[in-house]
Symmetry: C2
Subunit: 216 residues, 2 copies
């Protein structure tokens, strides 16, 4: 799918000029984000849970311990909304009204089902692990049969999605520029710090290159 | 309120040892987060929107342009779930199964109503501005009557809330420690970078101290 079709469910209503519906933009934000938030409904009550995700092709993967409320609910075919938000910086305008943030976000809608076929399930788990830390799958001890049985993985078909992006300097109007205050953007990137070796580490092993040079 | 009472709606089901229900812990996470995600339901369909928030006493504030779908929905008294998640680092265990993240999150439930009384509304806007950047309210051009009219602010009474926190090294079992791979934590803090002055800045004003030394 090259483009998600805008419709009443996924159309960006506020600041539509910030919207994007192409799959490349949507996928890039999903792939960079480490955390998503899942919105679902039980008996008319909205719930929200933050969790790890990964994209496998056109599907979004979620996982957790077997028997979890959210995963059981997803596996029953109920509708979901999922968001991934990357905060890039503060936009400090001259006017309170024009203050904003620079960000890249995706909201998607879909339904999911658990992945049961063993090879598919293992590949999904590899995809989740590599999403969080590329290179880790080859080094970590693979899941045992018992651990696989204790894990539920769901694949969500992305029915609708949209991205929303704000970047650049403050949007004050021309006749506001003389207000005597500094204005600009404060970048707020996530910057990996030196890794902290587990105190229980038994052998003196070096920090792997994919951890030392970690980048999203 | 010193403590939120755990009940079927807000009780942390997965890893209950990571849960906290005291207001001080919940408030500290809400206060540090720059973005929240709001989950709501329309015609049985879950929606989710990322937005700026602030806490004013026991209420959570949200704002936006007047007429926005989410704010109208909140103002009609519909139930909400809101999450704030702070990601602290990757937990790279020896086993794929024990991989995790260090994080601090809050999920809260409540209903909101718009704040209309002018002094209250201005104070809420001050609270939102200062939440994002302490010190900014005094420097920025205050909202005009027209801008205030174009802005909706809602106050959400927090009915239930819970926090969930994971910290520390990987949780591999003792009999897993000999697996020959490095294990530990990769800290992923948000680190403010030098501010980028608006290219349209008219006078050579210094970057304010509250921007230069910005910390959450």
């Amino acid at each position: 799918m090259a483009e998600f079709k805008a419709n009443p469910r996924n159309r960006v209503m506020r600041y539509p000029k910030r919207a994007a519906y192409d799959a490349a933009t949507v996928h890039a934000i999903l792939d960079e984000g480490l955390v998503c938030h899942v919105s679902f409904v039980m008996d008319g009550q909205p719930f929200i849970i933050p969790t790890i995700h990964a994209r496998m092709g056109d599907q979004l993967l979620l996982h957790g311990l077997k028997g979890g409320r959210m995963l059981e609910h997803i596996n029953a075919g109920n509708p979901l909304a999922v968001a991934v938000t990357l905060l890039d910086g503060l936009v400090l305008a001259r006017t309170v009204f024009n203050h904003s943030m620079n960000y890249r976000s995706v909201v998607l809608f879909g339904r999911g089902a658990s992945i049961e076929e063993p090879a598919h399930k293992l590949e999904a788990l590899r995809c989740l692990t590599e999403h969080v830390c590329r290179g880790r799958w080859a080094d970590a001890r693979p899941p045992t049969e018992k651990e696989l049985q204790a894990t539920t993985i769901v694949g969500i078909d992305i029915e609708d999605a949209s991205a929303k992006i704000r970047k650049g300097p403050p949007g004050d109007a021309d006749d506001e520029l003389e207000w005597p205050t500094w204005a600009g953007v404060l970048p707020l990137p996530t910057i990996p710090q030196p890794a902290e070796t587990d105190p229980r580490q038994q052998d003196a092993l070096p920090v792997p290159a994919y951890v030392r040079d970690y980048r999203r």
